[in-house]
């Protein structure tokens, strides 16, 4: 043990005081540190700072781009909403117009149909009247002829004279009509 202590103490020799520096060691540390500072100032710090700046720019650029895209999207949405509102109003307007037009057409058709039906009715009336008239005339002459023929058969041939026969028949019918008129009253 004692030998160890002695050998440790004598190893340092004269420069055993640890607070006394070795000048060569100081010189080497100075040179080494200066070299390191040079490399750090020249290469390491600029490269790292450049990377940091690029990264910050990339992130901020990305944020700005996203904000722009969002603004564009909301503008487009606003535009679509506006267009949708316009389209709805347009559709409403067209529907209203169609409804009014339809009502108009319906009214026209009704009117036209009414006029047509009135015309057809009137025509039918006229036709019926004229046919009745024709029937009356035909009947009168036919019934007269039949009656005179029948009467002539009964009475003999005296009534074959047309003029006399017509007079008789007319008179008879006039009586009939006046009777009918009297009964109707």
């Amino acid at each position: 043990m004692n030998q160890l202590i002695i050998s440790a103490a004598t190893e340092g020799g004269a420069a055993a005081n640890p607070l006394v520096p070795n000048l060569w060691e100081m010189f080497v540390v100075l040179v080494g540190f200066a070299l390191l500072m040079f490399i750090v100032v020249k290469f390491v710090v600029p490269m790292f700072e450049k990377t940091f700046a690029e990264r910050a720019e990339a992130i901020e650029g990305g944020i700005a781009k996203a904000e722009k895209a969002q603004a564009e999207a909301s503008a487009a949405l606003e535009e679509y909403k506006q267009q949708l509102t316009d389209a709805r109003a347009e559709a409403n307007r067209i529907r209203e117009e169609a409804r009014a037009e339809g009502a108009q057409i319906l009214a026209d058709l009704k009117e036209k149909a009414a006029a047509e039906s009135a015309r057809i009715t009137a025509q039918a009336h006229t036709q019926i009247e004229s046919e009745r008239q024709a029937a009356v005339v035909a009947l009168r002459s036919e019934v007269g002829t039949l009656a005179t023929t029948l009467a002539g058969r009964i009475v003999g041939e005296a009534l074959d004279d047309d003029q006399r026969a017509a007079r008789v028949v007319d008179r008879f019918l006039a009586e009939l009509e006046s009777q009918n008129a009297g009964a109707a009253k």
């Binding site: 490399i39 750090v40 390491v44 490269m47 790292f48």
Partner: protein
């Protein structure tokens, strides 16, 4: 105190293992970060992500949080270099075969603390002119009859003690950790060589203690790199904003 030097001419005034480790640390740090930063992809790979995490830690958690403002970027290279230079050189002490925290030799700590000392005084003068020394030593709002006591204290604490503690804190923690692990090693060796079997058995306890101390030392290695860088940032911030302190 020296573990075997790599080269036979490694004694007090030759090219020592400590010097080789310092230069190796520059190669390690520069290679790692140049490789990590080189690709500059927006979506980083594993290596780039690790580099960005490490760089971002110094840039944001130390430089930005302490110095703040618009001009903290000017001091990021210094803080970044300091942190990783000290970190790698400390961690050497926890790596088998290397087993030498570079700053357990006081020279390196003097150099780094000296660089920081010159830097923050230069920043203070550049920012506030020669009036900076008044701002740094005469606190505002102190009654005039206390000033004769306060001003010497401020001068000593800011301009004399500060660089000394800044360098010795790093050096002392590294040296102490190095010594503790080494003493534990010697202790184990000593106990194992005893003839009493029971006394030999106690070396297991020392081994357990040595492992625990090794873990603690590894923690302190990282912590001291952080503390040194953090204090640098605080000194720079104090010099920048001397008129508001």
């Amino acid at each position: 105190m020296h573990l075997p030097a790599i080269l036979p001419w490694g004694a007090a005034d030759g090219f020592s293992k400590q010097m080789l480790l310092v230069l190796l640390s520059v190669v390690i740090i520069a290679t790692f970060f140049v490789l990590a930063a080189r690709k500059q992809q927006l979506v980083p790979g594993k290596l780039q992500f690790a580099g960005e995490m490490a760089y971002g830690f110094v840039r944001n958690s130390i430089a930005k949080d302490i110095i703040g403002g618009k001009d903290f970027m000017k001091y990021v290279p210094l803080l970044f270099s300091l942190f990783f230079f000290i970190l790698v050189n400390n961690i050497y002490g926890a790596i088998p075969l290397f087993q030498l925290p570079t700053f357990s030799h006081v020279g390196g700590a003097y150099v780094l603390a000296g660089i920081v000392y010159v830097t923050w005084i230069a920043i203070g003068i550049k920012k506030n002119g020669i009036r900076y020394f008044k701002l740094a030593t005469v606190p505002s709002g102190v009654p005039f009859y206390i000033l004769p006591i306060v001003v010497p204290i401020e001068i000593i604490s800011n301009f004399v003690v500060r660089p000394v503690t800044h360098s010795l804190r790093l050096f002392a923690t590294m040296l102490a950790g190095h010594l503790i692990v080494m003493i534990a090693g010697y202790g184990i060796e000593f106990l194992v060589m005893q003839e009493n079997i029971l006394l030999q058995g106690t070396s297991v306890l020392v081994l357990a203690g040595a492992i625990a101390m090794y873990m603690l030392e590894a923690l302190i290695m990282v912590l001291q790199a952080y503390v040194f860088t953090l204090l640098t940032a605080i000194y720079i911030e104090g010099a920048l904003h001397a008129d508001s302190h």
